[in-house]
């Protein structure tokens, strides 16, 4: 019995982990594999290997403009949301003020609301105001749902800082501004970078809220969704896979850099 439980605790978890990760990666692997399919019209059945889709990722109408929109919207929304969210995180992490509970609730609620409700209510207000739906309404919506995630990520980083570091800077005659510029901000920066990456990936992959507020503008997830019925070109798989590997590369590079910085200290 004892050896059995020991085997259970030592190996079953590993077997389980392998199964879990397999489940997570099956659709990704499928998407990647079918990006090499020599397809005609619809990419449903395997017809043979080809590099063509990777050589001409923009070879189908509308794919690359949609990707371009997604990247532009993602960068803009990330930029605005990261600034607004970081400011809020500093206010929450560094100052005592009245209205703290209200602020926390206002930050928490968008994360706890179904995307559908966020998208639908924004559409209602845009319609009531007679605003034209399109690029800018998508940016507005994305900034709105990204802010909370930025606040939470950056706030966690600020809370994990050792307050003695800032005290030390002050003891060494740095004024408040210099302490912030040379001590606090560099220490919080990795948190801000992480928050920005999170915001970009949320914006880039968003479908439900975007679908409500996009008008005639097409982003990459919208493109994939609308073309799924008629048969998706393998170029969509190429772009999906490329984004996957690119993001993986950025995260791994970020980890290596932060490790080197730590060793350097």
């Amino acid at each position: 019995m004892k050896t059995l439980t020991r085997w259970f605790s030592r190996n079953l978890i590993r077997v389980y982990m392998v199964l879990g990760f397999t489940y997570l990666f099956i659709p990704v692997a499928y998407t990647f594999a079918f990006s090499f399919n020599d397809y005609i019209k619809s990419n449903l059945v395997w017809r043979g290997f080809t590099w063509n889709n990777w050589k001409q990722p923009c070879g189908v109408l509308d794919v690359c403009p949609a990707l371009g929109n997604s990247i532009k919207i993602g960068l803009l929304a990330t930029f605005i949301a990261t600034i607004l969210g970081t400011l809020i995180a500093f206010a929450l992490g560094r100052y005592a003020f009245k209205g703290r509970a209200v602020t926390n609730t206002l930050i928490f609620l968008p994360m706890a609301s179904p995307e559908l409700v966020l998208g639908a209510s924004l559409l209602t207000i845009f319609l009531n105001l007679g605003m034209n739906l399109g690029f800018w309404t998508i940016v507005i919506a994305h900034v709105m749902f990204c802010i909370s995630f930025v606040v939470v990520t950056v706030k966690a980083r600020i809370a994990s800082l050792d307050p003695r570091l800032e005290q030390a800077a002050m003891d060494l005659y740095a004024d408040e501004r210099e302490t912030f510029r040379r001590v606090t901000f560099p220490l919080v920066a990795p948190g801000i970078a992480g928050a920005a990456l999170l915001a970009f990936s949320l914006s880039f992959d968003d479908f439900i809220i975007t679908n409500f507020n996009s008008g005639t503008t097409i982003t990459f997830p919208l493109y994939v969704y609308t073309h799924a019925e008629r048969g998706l070109p393998a170029q969509a798989n190429v772009i999906g896979s490329a984004m996957f590997f690119l993001a993986l590369l950025i995260v791994v590079a970020g980890q290596i850099v932060s490790k080197k910085v730590k060793v350097g200290k």
Partner: protein
């Protein structure tokens, strides 16, 4: 949410007390959220009580609160199905994610960070693409179905997709990282010495797990189940891609009413009801699970 739980606000005495600075920091972000989150929700409530006006596609405010009742009776089935599917999907995700998070936290040594990145990695390959991939993997031309055919476990008439189970599997799959990360967060913070102490007191591995590990990981369980349940209950993409007409969830109804039928009052009242039901469920759940520090 796990992050919120972890980053409990520093005790107020340590914080700087300056009258105006925090408000300047808060203002831009909170104004954005007021304009594009609070105001829209209020508008949604207002739109819900409108009735059709003279023109086509025109609605006038008549404060017809019965709209809410009509909405809930008209779509009771889809509401029930949404919460049923979301509950089952959340339980499946918990069953898959708990051992995964446990393994990453306690059994993976120096590979911990890489494995954590791998949990989130599928997110970067578009959510819609992955759902479509499931449809094709499980579909009539897909490898799984062919294998079942060859093994005579299926006939050409059986379906793996276009079924409630396909929708539930899709939901559980899509929100799995939301379940795994908070679980990992709370498991990783457990002091290994606590587990050793339990062993020293003659508890076997299973008892230690049940009496020590699980209770200590409860904040992660609560956060993870909420982060899975909330988006799953409001989702319509999985039901659209992996389901059939009789697996429609409330999200499908709201989406169709808004974007196709353009019955905005009905769509608005359905959205608001969905939000209220979820909020109530979440509050009851948090009370029961006893981790109020979460919010």
């Amino acid at each position: 949410m796990a992050v919120i739980a972890r980053a409990k606000d520093a005790s107020t005495s340590e914080l700087k007390k300056k009258s105006l600075v925090p408000y300047f920091l808060l203002a831009p972000g909170l104004i954005w959220l007021s304009l594009f989150f609070v105001a829209p929700i209020i508008t949604l409530v207002g739109t819900a009580t409108k009735t059709p006006g003279a023109g086509i596609g025109e609605f006038v405010q008549t404060y017809r609160w019965a709209n809410y009742w009509d909405a809930i009776t008209g779509s009771a089935g889809q509401f029930g199905r949404s919460f049923l599917y979301a509950t089952i999907a959340t339980l499946i995700a918990l069953a898959i994610a708990y051992p995964l998070a446990y393994g990453i936290a306690f059994k993976s040594g120096k590979y911990k960070n890489i494995l954590l990145v791998l949990v989130v990695a599928p997110f970067f390959c578009s959510f819609i693409l992955r759902t479509i991939a499931w449809k094709q993997i499980l579909g009539q031309n897909g490898p799984v179905f062919r294998l079942l055919l060859d093994l005579h476990l299926a006939t050409p008439m059986t379906h793996l997709t276009a079924s409630p189970s396909a929708v539930i599997i899709g939901l559980a799959y899509n929100f799995l990282p939301f379940m795994t990360l908070p679980l990992y967060g709370s498991l990783e913070r457990i002091d290994p010495r606590v587990l050793e102490a339990s062993g020293d007191l003659y508890a076997n591995a299973f008892t230690t797990f049940r009496r020590v590990t699980v209770p200590l990981s409860m904040p992660g369980v609560v956060a993870g189940t909420l982060l899975t349940f909330i988006p799953a209950a409001g989702d319509y993409v999985n039901a659209e891609i992996l389901g059939n007409p009789s697996t429609k969830m409330i999200g499908n109804v709201i989406n169709a009413q808004f974007l196709n039928t353009q019955d905005y009052p009905l769509a608005a009242s359905l959205s608001f009801i969905l939000m209220i039901i979820i909020s109530v469920l979440v509050m009851v759940y948090i009370r029961k699970a006893g981790t109020e520090e979460l919010v």
